[in-house]
């Protein structure tokens, strides 16, 4: 029982971990896009 639960938890953790790296990378891309964007709206 414990081994099966461990295996499923490891697989779930890897999926969640990878999803979090995608989210983190998406935030970095958004920040980079903001930095690259022409100076719209600035005085």
């Amino acid at each position: 029982m414990g081994f099966v639960a461990a295996a499923y938890l490891v697989v779930a953790a890897l999926f969640v971990g990878y999803a979090l790296t995608l989210i983190g990378r998406q935030r970095l891309i958004a920040e980079l896009a903001d930095a690259v964007r022409p100076d719209q709206g600035r005085p």
Binding site: Y8, L14, Q26, A33, V36
Partner: protein
């Protein structure tokens, strides 16, 4: 994926010899099947990139390689956790296990090359690794058939058809499909990110 997990854990029957730990097969087999699908994408993307110098194919191969490492990691870890109660050990230098570990190292190497050598030179080197690494898959498959190995013989993809009863095959197929759908979804997001990043780098380099 939740339906597949619930079916495997709650509704599928116990295997006679292995008992409850055999239910790890319902994530182990889909992990390796999805890893092979990811590696097929790496292979095709790498070949097309070297042939046509198409950056889109490079981005596809790079994204799929990252996911291949994820699914090979799942395969190795779930296999090790299954091995402890069934074989009495987490790991043994068995032909199939060793060739699978080599596959993991090859594609981790691929990602290291991509990280250390960004640009076209790194992309070309990684594409060669991506193509050559796929040659390990037939070795993994045939290692359990031709060599003496502790690993169970194939029970699904056999010339004479699956050896599993329908009550085990159905949840296994559901899990394989769920893993493949998840792979396609993650690959789509990852490729989109690579495309946006490339466009941003081009803008920055043009300044």
């Amino acid at each position: 994926m939740l339906v597949g997990a619930a079916w495997a854990l709650l509704a599928a029957p116990d295997e006679v010899f292995q008992g409850f730990p055999q239910r790890i097969m319902y994530v182990h087999v889909p992990s390796v099947m999805t890893a092979y699908a990811a590696l097929a994408v790496v292979f095709v993307g790498s070949v097309l990139f070297l042939w046509r110098r198409d950056a889109r194919m490079d981005r596809l191969a790079h994204s799929a390689a990252e996911l291949a490492v994820l699914f090979i990691t799942m395969t190795l870890l779930s296999g090790a956790i299954w091995g402890k109660p069934v074989w009495g050990t987490w790991w043994t230098w068995d032909a199939r296990l060793t060739t699978t570990l080599i596959l993991w190292f090859i594609y981790v190497g691929y990602l290291i090359v991509r990280a250390w050598a960004p640009g076209s030179r790194g992309a070309r080197a990684a594409a060669v690794i991506g193509i050559v690494g796929v040659l390990d898959i037939p070795l993994i498959h045939w290692s359990a058939i031709l060599l003496r190995t502790l690993h169970p013989q194939p029970t699904v993809f056999r010339p004479e058809g699956p050896a599993l009863p329908a009550s085990m095959l159905a949840p296994l197929v559901v899990n394989i499909v769920a893993f493949l759908v998840m792979f396609v979804a993650l690959l789509t997001v990852r490729v989109r990110q690579e495309r946006t990043l490339s466009a941003l780098v081009e803008v920055l380099e043009g300044r």
